[in-house]
């Protein structure tokens, strides 16, 4: 039984069909990757699933319930969250506070308790603080806990976003290029972390340019080109698909070799 299901999703910006009739499903504990060249519509697809954009057509189901165009904060409360390709960090908060903010749903209480620093409010704050430290350790940012988030490197911020997303114990996690800007070691770590998260039962929808990583950790791959789904299947199936090679993989592997 799939936890996230996308049916015939599409959206246009002016005349441009950024995403057109895309369908697929993700099961709990599964890693599904969406690949495709720049501008293929991957981020737009994420924006529609996570409620940031309202889809022109199609539906999104979470645990069988139609959640199409539901506000992102309501989706978060139902266990769906995401990270961003272009970082969305709370810049002026400390690294630790960024993660604590991720615990908002656990921590929040009556506002008068917050205003008066009531013992119940302090207790809640103390509890999530420990949880936040644990998550920071998990993404190896515990040493930077008290630093202002804006001072961190790009790769570190990518991991901070993952820690913040994990704070709300998601059932479905959308990761938009989590390893972009990370060095080889950091990429491995993120790679291992994603596999670990999936093993714990979280359904993961991943956009990633590092093909080696995608091929290694994905259970299922959806290939987009010009907003259309041109193929899907297991990593082996997809990597043998001539359409995919023509549209994307061939050139990507060349650049990957050139980079390496």
């Amino acid at each position: 039984m799939s936890i996230l299901e996308v049916k015939g999703l599409g959206i246009s910006f002016g005349g441009l069909r950024a995403v057109n009739d895309v369908s697929f499903a993700v099961k709990p504990g599964e890693i599904v990757s969406v690949i495709g060249p720049n501008g293929a519509g991957k981020t737009t697809l994420f924006n529609m699933i996570s409620g940031v954009y309202m889809p022109g057509v199609g539906q999104v189901f979470l645990e069988g319930q139609d959640i199409t165009a539901r506000a992102p904060y309501l989706l978060a409360r139902q266990g769906l969250t995401r990270t961003f390709q272009n970082l969305q960090i709370f810049q002026e908060m400390t690294v630790l506070e960024n993660v604590i903010a991720g615990f908002h749903l656990t921590e929040r209480g009556p506002i008068w308790a917050d205003l008066l620093s009531w013992p119940s409010a302090r207790k809640r704050a103390g509890e999530v603080r420990n949880g936040a430290y644990e998550l920071l350790t998990r993404v190896r940012l515990e040493k930077a806990a008290e630093e202002e988030a804006g001072n961190l490197s790009y790769g570190a911020l990518k991991r901070l976003e993952i820690a913040r997303a994990l704070a709300m114990s998601p059932k479905v996690l959308l990761l938009d290029e989590p390893a972009a800007g990370c060095n080889a070691v950091e990429t491995e770590e993120i790679d291992a972390l994603i596999a670990e998260l999936a093993a714990s039962g979280i359904a993961i929808l991943l956009v990633e340019h590092d093909m080696k990583m995608v091929m290694r950790i994905s259970n299922h791959i959806v290939v987009l080109d010009h907003g259309e789904k041109i193929a899907e299947g297991t990593p082996t199936e997809v990597s043998r698909n001539p359409d995919v090679i023509a549209a994307y993989l061939g050139s990507e592997e060349e650049t990957a070799h050139a980079d390496g």
């Binding site: 409620g51 506000a71 709370f90 002026e92 991720g102 908002h104 409010a121 704050a125 997303a165």
Partner: protein, 318 residues
């Protein structure tokens, strides 16, 4: 750790409040101090709205006007004690903020600025035009709070200046305490989060419009209480309290001191309240000087006086 920092900040301000009177050349300075505290109170409220939640208001004096006129009108017309009138004013301000905040806070940046500006102008126009009730632009007198005579009956003789200095100091300290509590709470963190990124705040489950509204209502109550205290200590009030210049004054104080910092806001309020007392020319060119300060701060100290100084000191320490 953060809890300790909160009490350090409060202790510093309380200590300054206690020590300052020993240096006052005359009793008149109690009055000036009382005015500083009232202004600081409304600026601390603005810090919650602007500094925490990242929303602008150019009409907050409107709420000060409501608080002020509640204390002028409710005792005579409704027979309420002035102290209860402060609460009534705060309640009306909160209700009004709730009502207009919902549609207004959907706007961003300049548009929000203009919408709040419109609200402030509306309040000051109503206060000016309802002559029968408010006395119009000439203003009206405000009944005595009656607390000082109570103290006198208990054998504690203090001057009006001393009384207002003490009362406003206590209210400001409470206001600061609440603002600092909020800062490190779930709600305050949600405010600061949506300030950083609304879309990311949503993805962690933060109801952005609701949290913005809470910031707006809380800051409206601060302005309202400050307006009430101002009216009561002056014993007289004019619609200028709700006017555009007063709103701009508040924002300038906040920006000058450091809009993200409660302590900085207090410093900003102190500087801009004292300046016209020291330099009498300032009174004549108030608009000009306010504008100049705003521009200079924006260019040279975008985070405000206090945070910039703190950053400098930290940088040197390392």
């Amino acid at each position: 750790m953060t809890c300790r920092r909160k009490w350090i900040q409060i202790s510093i301000i309380a200590a300054i409040m206690l020590v300052l009177p020993f240096f006052f050349p005359s009793g008149y300075y109690y009055r000036v101090g009382a005015l500083v505290f009232v202004n600081a109170l409304s600026v601390v409220g603005l810090v919650i709205l602007v500094g925490y939640a990242g929303q602008i208001s150019l009409g907050h004096a409107g709420f000060a006007g409501i608080g002020a006129y509640a204390c002028a009108l409710a005792p005579t017309h409704l027979g309420l004690h002035p102290a209860v009138a402060i609460l009534l004013g705060a309640l009306i301000s909160a209700a009004l903020a709730l009502l207009i905040g919902r549609p207004i806070l959907r706007l961003k940046g300049y548009y929000l600025g203009v919408a709040t500006l419109g609200f402030g102008i509306l309040v000051s126009m109503v206060l000016s035009n309802e002559r029968a009730l408010t006395g119009g632009p000439d203003g009206m007198s405000v009944p005595d709070l009656g607390l000082r005579s109570l103290l006198r009956d208990m054998g504690w003789r203090i001057s009006g200046g001393e009384f207002w200095y003490g009362l406003n100091a206590v209210v400001l300290l409470i206001g600061i305490w609440i603002a600092l509590n909020l800062y490190q709470s779930a709600t305050g963190r949600a405010m600061r989060a949506l300030h950083g990124s609304e879309v990311a705040a949503q993805t962690v489950g933060i109801d952005v419009p609701r949290i913005k509204l809470q910031a707006f209502v809380i800051s409206a109550v601060y302005a309202s209480v400050a307006g009430s205290l101002l009216a009561l200590q002056n014993g007289f009030i004019t619609p200028e309290v709700a006017g555009f210049m007063h709103s701009v004054e508040m924002v300038t104080m906040a920006v000058l001191g450091g809009v993200g910092s409660v302590l900085g806001a207090t410093l900003g309020a102190a500087i801009l309240t004292l300046l016209p007392q020291v330099l009498t020319v300032f009174a004549e060119y108030e608009q000009l000087v306010l504008g100049l300060i705003m521009v200079l701060v924006m260019i040279f100290l975008p985070r405000g006086l206090l945070p910039s100084i703190v950053a400098k000191l930290r940088g040197r320490g390392e």
